[in-house]
């Protein structure tokens, strides 16, 4: 009756081999984690992966390295690490990563005992944590899920092999090692019970860690220490200097740039323009942020967690805040479609606010995903002119000339072109039929119509950079196709020449809807450049998108594009990512409070429901007692009586019914409920404490002639008592 294991058991040598190979697997996992960091240690990591693979595939080869090597390897590695740190300080993350890689390589190749195995586990955990903290990627979840069972299995094997001090200096024999043989043995050691137990253990770990993660008290830290934050370069199109083609280059990249968690799809009533950066200065085919916008007083520097704004007069899109997750390495400027009442960051950040052009930036471009919440978000087509723009109004009164000196906002009027180029612009402007109107919107529509009629959209523009003329003006003169920067650039130059202050804006336009988890996705291919033209009549900046295929040429017309929906495997993986950011990365004290409130509400509701049900039952009972002879009550009592009698009858006849069912189902005689029950008691009586005659009676029930449950019940009752008494003893 024993439930003994029947399967193969791995011997000590095989366990040692398995432990060694698991160490190599952990090394691979570590290198995988480190590879996702952009710290310039690629070659060392590639070397590490090669070594780990070698140790995994040909462990015998690694074991043939002479023992004397390890005597010198340690000091040599230490020296290399010291030199590396010395050469690269104060930059420390890159040498740190190289140090960890070298240490793991050393540990994978050198013979390992218990202490060294622990070092491998710790190094792997370190790599995973560093990579996870720096990238905040979903990959960390995958890696830690792989790491946890691997580390537990390794620790378990270490524990199995522990036989005191002597067992800690074991030399593994690799002479006859074959992967196929070991895997066959491991397969033999597995059975359903082991798999189920492992699965149950894993479920326990996941459940407990989830509970701990949720219940660990969080504090609302306003001054959290930035830990392993690494900066990188912005994408070419989203930097302070944008050359023609920089934005279009990003269009080839299909990866996700922004994920936007918004209240509902209805909040996207019009196509969003994720405005990131305003470029006011133009020279020789390059738009840039003028020096005046880069420095005080137009740019203010502050350290804040919540950035409030008083520009919003009406409620935003949806009552809930929008959470925007921006991938690392895109830009240091925040993609915001319009005005807002406040922006809230995860931690206190160094914020650069260029209030004059409605742009918010951070001090650096992060490598990892960065999220922020925007409250009362607006989709502006017109941006209010600020005090900074006051000069434009004055200049407008004096009928703006083509060459206005000074910094911003005068930079939005500067052309910096040759007379020939200005003449070309004038000639084009003269073709517009403005019907005498000096309205910026009318001009914008006319200019846009002109561009749409004469040029078509293409990612392979026919720009001649060697004509000696300004490339945008040359394209206007000789070109026929171009990308968004050429259209926007041409519009800016034409508008400026026509006397309208204009500036180029870069960011993202449109996006798609992930229908699996209901969030908005903006990809790098949605990068776009458009224009803002100053409307002196209304005293604000009007958004104009002169690129063909983006709705109406009338800038005042609200354009709603058909929403694109994402589904399928990639959308599913992407939805996992947003869940990761929503539930894990952005989990904070408020969420804990919300969870607690939700739980309290649910308990309150359940209690109320129970209370109401009890009150109803009490009312019914009261009604029954007060008027027992009422027809309805008599019927209810009768139904209750029938129900009780049926229940009692069923209970008394349960064994007879079971026997009938057994006979009807045609199951084997060995599956007779009496035999099964006797087998169960016999199994429990095996450990002793049950009298021999009773055991014999149980054996008779188990193996003897068939008996009815009724006749067997007294024996079962005695057996139950005997077993219970044994427990009490």
């Amino acid at each position: 009756m024993s439930t003994a294991y029947k399967q193969v058991r791995l011997n000590a040598e095989e366990l040692h081999q398995l432990k060694q190979l698991m160490g190599a697997l952990m090394a691979l996992l570590s290198f995988w984690a480190l590879a996702s960091l952009d710290v310039g240690s690629g070659p060392v990591i590639v070397l590490g992966i090669g070594v780990a693979l070698l140790a995994l595939v040909f462990p015998g080869f690694v074991s043939r390295i002479p023992a004397i090597t390890w005597r010198f390897a340690g000091p040599s590695i230490f020296l290399v690490i010291l030199v590396d740190f010395g050469l690269h300080l104060p930059e420390f993350i890159s040498p740190l990563v190289r140090m960890v890689v070298l240490l793991i390589i050393y540990r994978v190749l050198a013979p390992r005992n218990q202490r060294e195995d622990l070092q491998v586990i710790l190094l792997c955990l370190f790599c995973l944590v560093v990579s996870g903290v720096m990238t905040v990627s979903l990959l960390f979840a995958v890696q830690i899920v792989l790491f946890t069972p691997l580390a537990m299995a390794l620790l378990f094997i270490i524990c199995l092999l522990d036989r005191g001090e002597n067992s800690r200096t074991h030399v593994i024999q690799w002479t006859h090692f074959r992967w196929s043989r070991l895997l066959k043995r491991i397969w033999g050691a597995f059975d359903l019970r082991v798999v189920l137990l492992s699965a149950a253990m894993f479920a326990v770990v996941v459940t407990v860690s989830t509970l701990l993660f949720i219940l660990t008290p969080r504090f609302d830290l306003n001054r959290a220490i930035p830990f392993l934050e690494m900066s990188t370069d912005a994408q070419s199109g989203f930097d302070e200097t944008v050359r023609l083609g920089d934005v279009s280059k990003i269009l080839e990249d299909d990866s996700v740039a922004l994920r936007v968690d918004l209240p509902s799809m209805d909040a996207l009533s019009e196509e969003p323009y994720w405005r990131m950066l305003v470029l006011d200065e133009y020279k020789d085919g390059t738009f840039r942020v003028s020096d005046s916008l880069k420095t005080r007083p137009l740019r203010s520097f502050t350290e804040k967690r919540v950035l409030a704004s008083n520009r919003v007069s009406s409620p935003g899109r949806g009552s809930e805040p929008w959470t925007i997750f921006m991938e690392g390495g895109i830009s240091r400027y925040l993609p915001v479609p319009g005005d807002f009442s406040s922006v809230r960051f995860e931690q206190t950040k160094d914020v650069e606010l260029v209030e004059g052009v409605h742009v918010v930036g951070l001090d650096s471009v992060g490598q990892s995903v960065f999220s922020f919440q925007v409250e009362d978000l607006q989709f502006n087509r017109r941006f209010e002119a600020t005090d900074v723009d006051a000069a434009l109004v004055t200049v407008g009164d004096r009928e703006l000339s083509g060459e206005a000196p000074g910094g911003y906002p005068m930079t939005t009027l500067q052309l910096g072109l040759s007379e020939e180029s200005v003449a070309i612009l004038n000639r084009i402007n003269e073709q517009f039929d403005l019907a005498g109107s000096a309205d910026a919107a009318v001009y914008s529509q006319a200019a846009t119509d002109y561009l749409w009629q004469n040029f078509r959209y293409s990612l392979a523009p026919d720009v001649n950079r060697f004509s000696g003329r300004d490339p945008v003006v040359d394209w206007l003169e000789n070109g026929s196709q171009g990308h968004c920067e050429l259209f926007a650039g041409s519009f800016v130059l034409l508008a400026r020449q026509a006397g309208f202050p204009a500036r180029m804006v870069v960011g993202f336009a449109s996006g798609s809807w992930n229908s699996i988890e209901d969030f908005f996705v903006v990809r790098n291919r949605d990068a776009h450049a458009w224009v803002e033209i100053f409307d002196p009549a209304q005293g604000n900046w009007l958004r104009v998108d002169p690129t063909p295929g983006r709705g109406s040429s009338d800038p005042e017309m609200v354009f709603q594009r058909d929403m694109q929906f994402e589904s399928g495997l990639f959308a599913w993986v992407d939805s996992l990512r947003i869940q990761w950011y929503r539930r894990i990365v952005n989990f904070e004290q408020e969420d804990q409070v919300e969870l607690a409130r939700g739980l309290k509400d649910r308990i309150d509701r359940t209690l109320d429901h129970l209370k109401n049900q009890l009150a109803d039952a009490w009312r019914s009972l009261k009604g029954l007692l007060l008027s027992p002879l009422d027809r309805g009550n008599i019927r209810a009592v009768m139904a209750l009586l029938v129900f009780v009698i049926a229940g009692v009858a069923l209970w008394r006849l349960r064994f007879t019914l079971l026997e009938i069912l057994h006979k009807l189902s045609g199951r084997r005689a060995s599956l007779d409920p009496v035999r099964l029950r006797a087998a169960r008691y016999l199994r429990r009586a095996q450990t002793g404490g049950v009298a021999e005659p009773l055991v014999r009676e149980l054996q008779a029930l188990r193996f003897g002639p068939a008996r009815t449950m009724k006749s067997a019940l007294p024996v079962f009752k005695q057996a139950r008592r005997a077993i219970r008494r044994r427990k009490e003893v």
Binding site: M1, S2, T3, A4, Y5, R9, Q114, R115, L118, L122, L125, L128, V129, G132, V133, V136, F140, I144, T148, M152, L155, F156, I158, C159, L160, D162, R163, G164, R193, L197, M201, V204, V205, V206, V208, S209, T210, L212, F213, T216, R218, F219, L221, A224, I225, P226, F227, E346, Q347, I584, V585, N586, F587, E588, R683, Q686, T687
Partner: protein, 382 residues
């Protein structure tokens, strides 16, 4: 020291499943109980291993970093570390659940003889195996405890035996003990010990020694009419037993067979040889300590040989009543007496008995020897 030893024997901390059961806890004062949990020192039952200390250090570092940086990645890793600790505790609890053990000492043991004790482990669980079980065993006089390892998983319902050997160096009481079961299962974070120290005391008989002895010194070899309580071919009825194939029909006891409705055979007593009567006087004045040990060894060896030859009748120690030695039980009882025998000042002399002759007595010889006398005549020496 004695207090510490007693405390050690009684010790069980809160990790012991019986800790809260009434009656087990003798210490009732709150402060000592509280201090004992905080600073258990060498009496503790659950010790952190190197891996455990590392886990705690890593968890502390991780927690500090998590709170300082508000990084949920670190909180997540911390949760995983702590949950692995919870799982470890859970599995460790399951590992020891319904695991019983008993210490079985050897039945007989003489000085200088290699003894073997064994621990019988039984896993009474219905599903889970017990793994990585070790135990610390020791015996009187051993300086270091011996760690025994169960080298395989003990499946549900299975039992296993772990054995170890030891060599006692002196006669007398000898203690074999087991300091509970311990295990680092499953991940080696803690070394957990369950169960109390279990000790078994055995009596170590004197060592065998070489001696010279003339059996027929008294000249009385056979004695008719004197039967022994051993089965043989004499005429006295010793016993009735069931008939076995090959028994001569003349030995069938027909009357008993008729009454019991089964064939019964008469078993007759052995016609006796004249036996010896050992009289041991442990007079402290006569025997030095070393000589006394030798005396015990000689008596032990001689009595065993005489018994095997069927010629040991009675033994008498320190003037006590002569005890007949009919079987091994009596002989072993005499050996137990020898194991604990100590020299006495003025021990009572045995009264002179008229009937039995062949009384063996012992006297000291020079240079630590022992002379053996039968009825006062030297018959041998050692």
């Amino acid at each position: 020291m004695a207090d510490a030893s007693r405390e050690m024997r009684r010790w069980h901390d809160w990790t012991d499943p019986d800790f809260f059961s009434p009656g087990d806890q003798e210490e009732q004062r709150v402060v000592p109980l509280f201090l004992r949990q905080i600073l258990p020192r060498h009496l503790q039952r659950t010790k952190l291993t190197l891996i455990g200390w590392l886990l705690i250090l890593v968890a502390l570092g991780m927690g500090t970093a998590a709170y300082n940086t508000s990084s949920n990645i670190l909180f997540m890793t911390l949760s995983l570390l702590l949950s692995s600790l919870v799982l470890s505790g859970l599995l460790s609890q399951i590992n020891f659940h319904k695991l019983s053990w008993s210490l079985q000492p050897p039945e007989h043991l003489q000085v200088g003889e290699t003894g073997m004790a064994e621990v019988v482990l039984e896993n009474k669980k219905r599903v889970f195996p017990s793994m990585c079980i070790a135990m610390q065993a020791g015996s009187t006089g051993q300086k270091t405890m011996l760690r025994l390892y169960l080298d395989r998983a003990l499946g549900a319902g299975q039992s296993s035996r772990l054995e170890w050997t030891f060599v006692p160096s002196a006669r007398g009481r000898y203690e074999i003990f087991l300091n509970g079961l311990e295990s680092m299962f499953p991940f080696g974070f803690i070394r957990k010990v369950v169960g109390r120290r279990e000790a078994v005391s055995i009596l170590v008989w004197p060592a065998r020694t070489d001696y010279e002895f003339g059996f027929a010194a008294g000249g009385w070899r056979f004695q008719t009419g004197f039967s022994k309580r051993q089965a043989g071919a004499g005429s006295d009825l010793l016993n009735l037993r069931h008939y076995e194939k090959g028994d001569p029909p003349r030995l069938i006891h027909w009357k008993a067979s008729a009454r019991l409705n089964k064939l019964m055979t008469r078993q007759l007593a052995q016609e006796g040889e004249s036996g010896y009567h050992i009289n041991l006087v442990p007079d402290a004045e006569d025997w030095s300590a070393a000589q006394f040990e030798r005396l015990c060894s000689v008596v032990c060896a001689l009595s065993e040989d005489l018994f095997r030859a069927g010629r040991l009748e009675t033994v008498s120690v320190a003037g006590g009543d002569p005890l007949p030695v009919r079987g091994l039980r009596e002989l072993h009882s005499f050996f137990d007496q020898l194991a604990l025998l100590a020299p006495l000042n003025h021990p009572p002399q045995r009264a002179v008995l008229p009937a039995p002759r062949n009384v063996i007595s012992f006297n000291p010889l020079r240079e630590g020897g022992v002379s053996i006398h039968v009825d006062g005549i030297q018959a041998g020496q050692a």
